[in-house]
C-alpha cells in the first residue's frame, strides 16, 4: 500500500488564476466599458469612426496601466488584471476599436516597457499609459523556423540617424497613432537581413499613412504606411542590437494570448446574442430556442466556448508563471499560446456564423449585431500568425 502524507495536498485550488481583486476589477472594467463604449458602438460602426479622445478617457481611468510599473503610471505589473481588461473590452462588440486599443496598450506599450530605455519609456510609455500619446504597431509574422515575415521597410544608417524607406501594408492603429513601433530590415536584398526595431514619430517628414478599410473591423484605424527618406534618430531604435528577432518572437507569444482572450469573449457574446434572439423570435407558434436542433447546436457551441476558455486560461497561467520566474517547460508556453490562438479563432468564427444563422433573415441585416460579429471574426486583420504558422509551431513542439 502507498504511504500517505495528507500534508502533501494543497488546500488552495491547484489551478489558481483570478484572485478576488481581479474579480472586483472585472466589475469595474465591465461597468466602464458598458458606460463609455458599448452604448456608442452602433453609431460608431455606422460612421466607421469613434473619437480619438477615447484613448485619453481610457488612460485617465487607468485601464491601460494594469500590466505596467507604477513608475510609468501603471498599476501593476499585473498580467492577470491586464487580461481582465482585454476580456471586458472585447465585450463591447466593436472589434475594430478593440484592435486599436489593444495595439496601443497591449502591443505598442508592451514593446516599450520590455525593450525600451528609461528615456524612451519616459517619452513614450508614460504618456501612452495616460492615454495622451497614441501608439501603433506594424504586423509581422515569424514562421516556425524563426524567419521574420513582413519586413517591408529598409533602414540605412546615416550618421546618428537611420533613414527609413519602403511601405508597410499593415500597421495596427496606424492611421492616427502619434508613434509606431515598426520593424525594418538593414538590407532587403538579402534573404536573411538584420532586423531592426524603431519608434517612428508619425509627424516625421516623409511619413504617409492611409487608413485601410476592411469588411470587418470597421472602427479600426489600421493603415498602410509609406516612408520616403524618413530620418529616425538612433535614440529611437528599440531593443538591444541583435535581440530584435527574439523580441518580436516574444511579443508574438503575448499577442497570441491577448487575441485568444478576445476571441473567447467574442464567441461568448455572439452565442449570448444568438440565444437571446431565438428566445424572443417565434416560429410556428413557439420560440425558435425551443426547437431541438437549435438547443443542441447551442449546446455544442457552448461546449466549444468553454473548451476555448479553459485552453486560453491555461496559456495565461503559464505566461504569468513564466513572468514570475516559475519553472515552465521550454516550449510549453509557445505551444500553449499557439494552440489557444488556433482554437479560439475558429470557435469565434463558428459561433458568429451560427449567430447569423440563428437570426434568420435578420442575421443578414446590418441593424443587428450578428453580422458584425461575423464580419469582425473573419474580415479583420489576422494577427499573431496564420493558422498555418500556428499549426507549424504546434507540430514542431512534438518533434515533428
Amino acid at each position: 500500500m502507498l504511504k500517505l502524507d495528507p500534508e502533501a495536498f494543497a488546500t488552495e485550488p491547484a489551478l489558481p488564476l483570478f484572485r478576488e481583486e481581479h474579480d472586483a476589477y472585472r466589475e469595474a472594467a465591465r461597468d466602464f466599458v458598458a458606460g463609455v463604449i458599448t452604448g456608442n458602438v452602433e453609431a460608431w460602426e455606422v460612421d466607421r469612426e469613434y473619437p480619438r479622445e477615447l484613448f485619453r478617457t481610457v488612460g485617465a481611468a487607468g485601464h491601460f496601466g494594469a500590466q505596467f510599473d507604477p513608475r510609468w503610471g501603471g498599476a501593476g505589473p499585473d498580467l492577470v488584471a491586464s487580461a481582465v481588461f482585454t476580456e471586458e473590452l472585447a465585450r463591447c462588440g466593436s472589434a475594430g476599436l478593440v484592435a486599436d486599443l489593444r495595439a496601443h496598450a497591449g502591443f505598442a506599450c508592451r514593446y516599450l516597457d520590455r525593450y525600451g530605455t528609461d528615456e524612451q519609456k519616459q517619452r513614450y510609455l508614460a504618456p501612452s499609459i495616460a492615454g495622451e500619446l497614441v501608439g501603433g504597431v506594424g504586423v509581422v509574422e515569424v514562421d516556425g523556423a524563426g524567419t521574420v515575415d513582413g519586413l517591408a521597410l529598409r533602414a540605412v544608417r546615416d550618421g546618428d540617424d537611420w533613414v527609413l524607406d519602403g511601405a508597410d501594408a499593415l500597421v495596427l492603429n496606424g492611421s492616427w497613432a502619434d508613434y509606431l513601433i515598426v520593424p525594418a530590415a538593414s538590407d532587403t536584398s538579402t534573404p536573411d537581413p538584420e532586423v531592426l526595431l524603431f519608434i517612428l514619430d508619425t509627424t516625421a517628414s516623409g511619413v504617409e499613412r492611409h487608413r485601410d478599410l476592411r469588411g470587418g473591423w470597421r472602427t479600426a484605424h489600421t493603415a498602410a504606411l509609406s516612408c520616403t527618406a524618413v530620418r529616425v534618430s538612433d535614440e529611437n531604435r528599440l531593443g538591444r542590437p541583435g535581440d530584435e528577432v527574439a523580441a518580436i518572437t516574444e511579443q508574438l507569444v503575448w499577442e497570441r494570448l491577448v487575441l485568444a482572450l478576445g476571441a473567447v469573449v467574442a464567441a461568448e457574446v455572439s452565442l449570448e446574442q444568438a440565444i437571446a434572439y431565438t428566445r424572443e423570435r417565434q416560429a410556428f407558434g413557439r420560440p425558435v430556442a425551443s426547437f431541438q436542433v437549435w438547443q443542441h447546436r447551442f449546446a455544442d457551441l457552448g461546449t466549444e466556448v468553454e473548451l476555448a476558455r479553459s485552453l486560453t486560461y491555461h496559456a495565461l497561467r503559464l505566461y504569468v508563471a513564466e513572468e514570475e520566474g516559475e519553472d515552465v517547460l521550454p516550449g510549453e508556453l509557445d505551444r500553449a499560446t499557439a494552440m489557444a490562438k488556433l482554437y479560439t479563432d475558429r470557435v469565434a468564427q463558428r459561433t458568429a456564423d451560427e449567430c447569423v444563422q440563428a437570426h434568420g433573415g435578420a442575421g443578414y441585416l446590418t441593424e443587428y449585431p450578428a453580422q458584425r460579429y461575423w464580419r469582425d471574426t473573419r474580415l479583420g486583420v489576422p494577427g499573431g500568425g496564420s493558422d498555418d504558422t500556428l499549426r507549424e509551431i504546434v507540430a514542431r513542439s512534438y518533434g515533428l
Binding site: D212, Q357, Y364, T366, V381
Partner: protein, 383 residues
C-alpha cells in the same frame, strides 16, 4: 462533349451571356457595389438581349429554349455578382412563373411579356416582418370591395422591392384557420404605383449590397378585380407550385456563386504556388482545393440531374431541396476557404472576394434557410 447536357447552341448562348457580363457588367460591378445599387438598365438590357424567359415558350413572351438555357444563364450571370444574379433570378424564376401558369391572357400581356422584355421589373412578396419561414401565419390581408380588393399589411425581405413595378404577392383572403394553415390565401399582382403602397425601408444588408431589398407597406391599397392571380383562396397551393422552380433556381444561383469563387481561388492559388513562398504551403492548398473541387462537382452533378428531370417534366422535389441546402453550404465553405487563403488581402473592403464572401452567406438564409430545407427534406424522406 459527352457527359455534358449542353448542345453547341447552349454553348453559343453561354458565350453571349459571358460576353455581356465581361463587357457590360464586370467593369461596373465595384462601383455599383459601392453605390449599393446596380442600375435598372441591367434588367432592360438583359431583356433586350433575350436573356430573360429563356426557357419559356415563345407564345408567352419567352425564348423557347429548354431548361438548360436557364442553367447556362444563371451560371454565367453569377460571374457578374451575387446581387445581379439574384435580381435577375427573381425576375425570371421567382415572380413570373406563377403568372405564366395561372395568369389570364391579359395578365400575361401586361406583366409577363414586359418582364421578359426587361421593361417591367418584378418582385415576389411572401415573408412578413413577423413571419419568417412560417408562411401559414401571414397577416397581410385583402378584403373584397365592390370592384376588387383592398389590401393592408406589410412584406419583408423583398428582393427588387425598392424598384419593382409590381409584386407577385400572397395575402390572406380569409381568416387564419390553424387546422388548415394553408387555406384562405390568394395571389395578387400588385402594382407598386398604387396609392397606399410604399417602400418603408430599403434594407441595409450584410451582402448582396447592390441588390435592393425592401420592407413594403400597404395601407388601404385598392386593387382592381383583375389583380387576382389564379383562383381565390388557392394562393398557397399556387405558391407551392412555384416553389420547386424557385428552389432549383436558388440552388443554381448558390452553385454559380460557388463556382465563381472557386475559379478565383484556383487563380489565387496558382499565383501563390507560383510565388513558391509565403506561409501557405502548396500541398496544404492543393488538398483543400481538391476537396472543394470534389464537393463542387458532386453538387453540380446532383443539380444537373434535377435539371435533366425538370426538362422531362419531372419535379425531383426531395433532390431539389437537397441541392438548395447543399449548394448554399458549399458556397459558404468555398467563400471561407478563399478568405483563409487570402488572409489579409481578401478582407479589404471592396475586394471582389470579400464581397463574394458576404454575398454567399445569404444562400443559407434566403429562399428557405438551411433549417427549413432540412425540415422539408426530412418530411419528404417520410420522417
Amino acid at each position: 462533349m459527352t457527359g455534358s447536357p449542353f448542345t453547341t447552341e447552349h454553348d453559343d448562348l453561354r458565350a453571349r451571356v459571358r460576353h455581356w457580363v465581361d463587357e457590360e457588367l464586370l467593369p461596373h460591378v465595384d462601383e455599383w457595389e459601392a453605390a449599393d445599387l446596380f442600375p435598372d438598365e441591367v434588367f432592360h438590357r438583359a431583356g433586350e438581349l433575350g436573356f430573360l424567359g429563356l426557357s419559356v415558350p415563345v407564345e408567352d413572351g419567352g425564348q423557347g429554349w429548354d431548361y438548360w438555357a436557364t442553367v447556362v444563364f444563371l451560371e454565367e450571370i453569377s460571374r457578374a455578382s451575387g446581387s445581379i444574379a439574384m435580381g435577375l433570378g427573381v425576375q425570371t424564376d421567382m415572380c413570373t412563373p406563377q403568372i405564366r401558369q395561372f395568369g389570364t391572357a391579359e395578365q400575361i400581356e401586361q406583366y409577363l411579356k414586359p418582364a421578359y422584355r426587361g421593361e417591367k421589373i418584378g418582385s415576389v412578396g411572401i415573408t412578413e416582418p413577423d413571419v419568417g419561414s412560417d408562411v401559414a401565419s401571414i397577416r397581410t390581408h385583402a378584403k373584397p370591395t365592390a370592384d376588387g380588393w383592398v389590401i393592408n399589411g406589410s412584406k419583408m425581405y423583398i428582393t427588387n422591392g425598392v424598384r419593382a413595378d409590381w409584386v407577385t404577392m400572397v395575402v390572406r383572403t380569409a381568416e387564419q384557420d390553424r387546422s388548415a394553415p394553408s387555406a384562405g390565401m390568394s395571389l395578387f399582382l400588385v402594382d407598386t404605383d398604387l396609392p397606399g403602397f410604399s417602400v418603408s425601408k430599403k434594407l441595409d444588408k450584410l451582402g448582396m449590397r447592390s441588390s435592393d431589398t425592401a420592407l413594403l407597406f400597404l395601407d388601404d391599397v385598392h386593387l382592381p378585380a383583375d389583380a387576382l392571380l389564379g383562383t381565390e383562396h388557392e394562393g398557397f397551393k399556387q405558391l407551392m407550385w412555384g416553389l420547386q422552380g424557385e428552389r432549383l433556381a436558388g440552388g443554381l444561383l448558390a452553385l454559380g456563386g460557388a463556382q465563381m469563387m472557386f475559379d478565383q481561388l484556383l487563380e489565387d492559388a496558382g499565383v501563390r504556388a507560383g510565388a513558391g513562398t509565403g506561409s501557405l504551403r502548396s500541398q496544404r492548398l492543393r488538398d483543400r482545393i481538391a476537396e472543394l473541387a470534389t464537393d463542387l462537382e458532386a453538387n453540380r452533378r446532383l443539380i444537373y440531374d434535377c435539371c435533366d428531370k425538370w426538362n422531362q417534366g419531372v419535379y425531383a422535389r426531395t433532390e431539389i431541396a437537397m441541392v438548395k441546402l447543399a449548394a448554399a453550404q458549399l458556397a459558404s465553405k468555398i467563400a471561407d476557404e478563399s478568405m483563409q487563403l487570402q488572409a489579409g488581402n481578401g478582407h479589404r473592403a471592396g475586394d471582389a472576394r470579400e464581397s463574394a464572401w458576404r454575398d454567399a452567406r445569404l444562400h443559407r438564409i434566403g429562399g428557405g434557410s438551411d433549417e427549413v430545407q432540412r425540415q422539408v427534406i426530412s418530411r419528404m424522406m417520410g420522417l
